[in-house]
């Protein structure tokens, strides 16, 4: 069998396993081992998967993931996300689509104190979805808004994927975080426009909720200080050189716990629940990372990855043509693969190509992360959509995917804007 045929066979095995509902990470690991056995041998393949498991579970670079998730669960249990949602609702409730805007703003605010889009999506599904449905919002539309809102956290610092990009490409993570702020806010504006347009065509799907008094508005604002404090601590600490990003994740989780404890929301039992929840979510992610890395090593040994990237870099289309090809490739990869796995597997090869083309590494980080994470909301493997569906079982995957499509469309516009106007990302950095 030729290497290409083996690579295709690996993909075929993967698809079959996914269809019969083998967990994603385990399906990728099995397909990876099977393929690696065909190319190299069964004993090396088995040794490889054990190595991948130990490495992924104990990787220093990955410790930001469970700790950022933990910060998110503590913040959610301390009702930081709910307060953010209520405050936005007090101000925006009197507009059509006000609750959808509120869900977006709350997602953005919550994203500022946690580093994972899945954690944001999970929390907002619990906090915002029931209230939206109770107020007569279309369930799928609400889920779509929450799925889109979850991705705001990928750009708004802190961000686990941006940090990982920085580790791998040796770029300053503080700069990357700062570079993500404006694109993140632009995302918020783009999604809000999408809601305006949807509201215009389907007013019945987002009824007006009613307005709040000025005192309610001001009281709601006074409650969100904790988010500002936590955000300031993390970003200020990283930027001011008090601690590294990995340490910031630990400090952030500890800080969120402290806020919750001071507010009387986090007793021993609630703390343990948060830890357990963050643990289970992290373990689910790491299972996928193990599978993705195993599958990735298999693709590497068949030469598929290198051949693809080499081919891309040698197209006679100029730097922006190559960039476009690379981004198109990432869009496809992002649709089927986990963004962490893509980052780990392809960046060491792609980044030198980007540098040789003379692109700004911080700007490319923003573009890259945005492109690969578009896939968290697209079929066949859209992690955010899976997470929302796993909490709100009554809204089917297909309906959420359809509802999130308008937001994907405006994301593509945003991506184009970022490519055409690099200063959106770089203005605050340089």
């Amino acid at each position: 069998m030729s290497l290409t045929a083996i690579a295709l066979a690996g993909f075929a095995i993967l698809v079959v396993l996914l269809l019969i509902r083998v967990p994603v990470g385990i399906a990728m690991a099995i397909a990876g081992i099977a393929g690696f056995s065909l190319v190299v041998g069964i004993d090396p393949a088995i040794s490889m998967v054990s190595q991948v498991a130990f490495n992924a579970l104990t990787a220093y670079e990955f410790s930001i993931i469970p700790m950022f998730i933990l910060m998110g669960t503590f913040a959610a249990k301390s009702d930081l996300s709910l307060e953010m949602f209520r405050a936005s609702q007090a101000w925006l409730g009197r507009f059509r689509g006000g609750m959808a805007f509120s869900a977006l703003v709350a997602s953005a605010g919550f994203a500022a104190v946690n580093g994972s889009s899945m954690a944001t999506a999970a929390t907002m599904t619990r906090v915002a979805l029931p209230e939206m449905e109770r107020n007569g919002y279309d369930g799928a539309l609400s889920a779509g808004v929450i799925a889109a809102g979850g991705t705001l956290g990928i750009m708004i610092p802190p961000s686990a994927v941006l940090a990982l990009y920085g580790f791998i490409t040796q770029q300053n993570v503080a700069d990357l975080f700062i570079a993500g702020i404006l694109p993140g806010l632009l995302g918020l504006a783009c999604y809000a426009s999408a809601i305006l347009i949807l509201g215009f065509f389907r007013p019945a799907s987002m009824p007006v909720a009613g307005s709040s008094s000025w005192s309610e508005k001001l009281i709601s604002l006074s409650r969100v200080w904790a988010i500002a404090l936590l955000f300031g601590l993390i970003i200020g600490g990283i930027y001011g050189g008090v601690f590294t990003v990995t340490e910031a994740a630990g400090i952030g989780a500890f800080g969120a716990w402290l806020i919750g404890t001071l507010r009387g929301r986090l007793g021993v039992k609630a703390t343990l629940e948060c830890l357990g929840e963050a643990l289970a979510m992290s373990a689910a992610i790491f299972t996928i990372v193990i599978g993705a890395l195993t599958f990735g090593y298999f693709l590497t040994v068949t030469g598929t990855t290198t051949a693809l990237i080499g081919w891309l870099a040698n197209q006679p289309v100029g730097p922006y043509g190559v960039l476009t090809l690379i981004l198109l490739g990432y869009l496809v990869l992002g649709a089927v693969m986990d963004e962490l796995a893509i980052t780990l597997l392809t960046l060491p090869i792609v980044f030198p190509v980007i540098q040789s083309l003379g692109f700004d590494p911080i700007w490319f980080g923003v573009i890259f992360v945005m492109t690969v994470t578009l896939g968290v909301n697209t079929p066949p493997i859209g992690m955010n959509v899976f997470v929302i569906n796993s909490i709100a079982r009554h809204i089917s995957l297909g309906r959420i995917y359809r509802a999130v499509m308008p937001f994907i469309a405006v994301d593509l516009v945003r991506l184009l804007l970022l490519i055409l106007f690099p200063s959106i990302a770089l203005y605050l950095v340089y």
Binding site: I20, V49, T58, A59, L275, L279, A280, S390
Partner: protein, 158 residues
């Protein structure tokens, strides 16, 4: 069984708390006492690995692994049960292979004396403990097959 898994979950959760605390304490130590905890780099990594490996058993028990449900939702009750059993047998077999592979690697790491960078603590013990977490996940999957066959289990492939 359930009580045992509750205990595992508690231990793994506390371990995650410890990872966070060490990371936090390291910053405090550096600024407060101008010193670093010896081997905190390697020990944090090992604690993280332990928490996550046992966490995989917890996630497996809670059926919180991420799956693609498209085809499954189209199936009737019988079809779903067949798919659940097949997916579990495959998942369990993989976890069994992974357990054996990790045990072998832990054993080889013991033979080659791998240790932490500063305090020279052997790391095979940590690796063996992580392997136990995966072994438990494997056991959980096979135990749940019986429940599915009796029709007592409706959610989650593993």
């Amino acid at each position: 069984m359930n009580r045992f898994l509750r205990a595992i979950e508690l231990a793994a959760s506390l371990m995650l708390g410890v990872v966070t605390l060490i990371t936090f304490a390291n910053v405090v130590m550096r600024f407060g006492f101008n010193s670093a905890l010896m081997d905190s780099f390697d020990l944090t990594r090992m604690a993280q690995g332990l928490a996550l490996a046992w966490g995989i058993a917890v996630t497996t028990h809670r059926s919180e692994h991420i799956t693609i449900d498209g085809l499954w939702t189209l199936m009737g009750p019988r079809g779903r049960r067949v798919m659940d059993i097949v997916a579990r047998v495959i998942t369990g077999s993989f976890l069994l292979v992974l357990t054996l592979a990790m045990a072998q690697r832990a054993y080889r790491n013991m033979l080659s004396n791998l240790s932490t960078a500063e305090l020279s603590i052997p790391i095979w013990g940590f690796h063996a403990a992580m392997t136990l977490g995966i072994a438990l996940a494997c056991f959980v999957v096979f135990a749940s097959i019986r429940l599915v066959r009796n029709g007592g289990y409706t959610r989650g492939a593993a």
